[in-house]
């Protein structure tokens, strides 16, 4: 259902999420983000192959907003499909989490914040 790959690119730590994030697979995403924010300050989430995200998946992103602010951790999502972006937008999470088109934009944005 979900594949999570990680890689370090320059100073950025990239989490690539593929497939569908639903109630059961959101646990893996939760664990991964929880682990990454302990040691990294600049995080990019690659959503190019993210097909679907449920409210439980949104809950994962939401739950780290406060923690990231406090720890001055910067996270940007990129490459979201219209459908997935729409889900974030309806909930209003697009106001709290930065989302851009490409990886390059994401890198720039992270450095700009």
């Amino acid at each position: 259902m979900i594949t999570i790959q990680t890689e370090q690119e320059e100073e950025f730590y990239i989490i690539k999420v593929e497939g569908e994030v639903d109630a059961s697979s959101s646990i893996y995403l939760d664990n991964k983000i929880g682990e990454v924010i302990k040691s990294h300050k600049k995080i990019l989430v690659d959503c190019e192959d993210l097909k679907y995200i449920s409210s439980a998946g949104l809950g994962v992103f939401m739950s780290y907003i406060h923690e990231m602010e406090e720890g001055e951790i910067k996270m940007v999502l990129f490459g979201l499909s219209d459908k997935v972006r729409n889900v974030f937008q309806i909930l209003g999470l697009d106001q709290l989490i930065k989302m851009v088109e490409s990886k390059e934009d994401a890198k720039k944005l992270v450095n700009a914040i």
Binding site: A23, S55, A56, L58, G59, H66, I90, L91, G92, L96
Partner: protein
Amino acid sequence: MMSKRIFHLRFFFTTALVSWMAMMVFTQLMAFANANQMEHGLKEYLPELFYALFFLSIYSFYKVQLGRSRDANLQELLWKVFVSGLIATIASLILKFIEDLFLSHSRIGENPLLTNLIYNINIGLLSAFFVSTFIVWEKFIFYQKTKKLILGWRIYVYTLLATLLISLIFSIVNFVLSQMFLFIILALFLLASFYFSANLKWVAYLNYKQKWKSILLFLLILIYIGYFFNYLWGVQMQQPEALVFNGMWNLTIMGFFIFIFIYTFISILVILFNLPTSSVFEKKLEEIISFQRLSQSRNAGKNEREVYQILLESSVSAVLADAAWVESKSGNNQDPLIIKYKIGNDEVKLITEIISKSKEKQIVNSDPITNLKTDRYITSIKNNRFKSVLIFPVYIQHEIIGSLILLKEISDGFNEEMITVIRTFVNQAAISIENFKLIETILENERYIKELNIAKNVQRSLLPSTMDHSSFFDISAYSKSADEVGGDYYDIYKVDDNRTVVIIGDVSGKGTSAAFHMSQLKGIFHSLVQLDLSSHEFMVYANNALAKGLDKNSFITASIYIIDKNSRTIEFCRAGHCPTLFFPKNAEKPEYYFGKGLGLGILRNNEFQEYVNNDKIQFKDGDLLVLFTDGITEARNRLGEEFGYDRLKELVFKNAIKNPEEIKNDIINALYEYCGTKSPHDDYTVIIIKFKEKI
């Protein structure tokens, strides 16, 4: 109330007694007439007739009496035969004693009257004894019956009883059967007796002690039979011409005598020959019973300890172990359960050490799937009381949950067969324990299901059962959850006849926790709705209230609508919930109202108020408002395509002219048709509001 059985018993007993008396009376009269060379004027066949009646009655009597004892064991039946034989013999001996007493003092003994009297009493006694023995032996033969056997036996019994009639007819027509012919018939009966005497299957089921006891009883019964035959023979030899009724020439008496004699005799021989093997049979039987106990233990709801206890006892007795123990790793890091048999703690420790160190272990069995070497056998241990050890692990799904250790004081004390038997026991014990654990799990699951049902009922009660609203619009709602407990919520509150507040919400996640959050939302709604707040204020307060109560990963999306007749406005605030579909009557198409918004519980501080808006729509008569949850738009068909916003919009557009109830039904039907299922995959909620047109 006399039961039918008792009535029958009394009836047959009475007829037997009466016909026997009648036979005696007529015999006496005839004997008296014969002695005095007088014409008695009585029919010659009368004694024969009454004897036949007597015999049939006594036969029926025992048939009824012993018929009940189908369940009684053979030992008891044998004992009954022995006792009835004993009584008959003692009675007969007393008669003989009286006869001898008279004989020694006078010549009355030679009186044909007395001879006949005593003879007929003896005939009565021996007939009763023979018949009762016969019927018990029949039960022995039918210990394991087959259709063929039942049929053969029936023919045989009817033939035997038919001889009563034949004798009677012969005596009526005054025909005397030639001795030669008589012998042929008796020889046939003898053959039949041998044939039926082959049915001795019950012998195998007697244990050693029972066999000895049976031999003794059979021998005594044989002596009684012999005694009576000897009596008949004796009288026949001495004074046959004095007898009016001669039992020696009676086909029935002889037929019964031949059978019970042969069967008794052969039984004794067969039991004798079976004596040496009986211990083996007993052992096998014991193993089967042990096996049964192990199998049944799960039904009795016994716990693990008892299963191990039975395993230990059965195994010890099956292989005659000198000592043994079972240990179980009952998980949870508890101390292992150890049940010991004739062995102390120190020795258990010592042997365990020897087992782990010993290099002379013989692998006698291994698990076919995991290829784990399982059963081990140490044939000789030095410097210990015990010389041989068998080790059997107890497996559940290839995981060791315990072991059985059997010890003997002689080296090489276990053979192949013992190992096989114990393996079977151990496997059965494992099955029992596994079943026991499965039942525990099932019970636990059932408890959860019950709890979930309670949650379901609680949740259902959270949704309004009636839609109490202002009279200027019509409303219809549908809500169905995919799981036992869903996360969709809607509610309605009529402030007055001009104002009504409607809320729709979706709690993230599913199941019981969603239901709890939903009930929080309901509490908040019903508290805040009374304060006459704006929709924006309502959401800000709701967010504050929920900030403390929601899980870290949980949020709630909701939209609240304050519908006001006076200002003709719908004031609403969208807290991250799906957009609202609004279709003004005079518009071309329905439109989604997005606006700014953020889910409740996402920002748990004052910043939240900046992320939500207070929006307003003007409505006119005939306008249509559609509220829904994301379950509707995200519902997927078989190809994984979502139902989507456009399809919903199109449906509303096409059906706008209908009333809310019909529109709701159309949407739901279209949705299920699209998904191709009859049950929802997600929680579906849709609410249709239509403002009344003034007519």
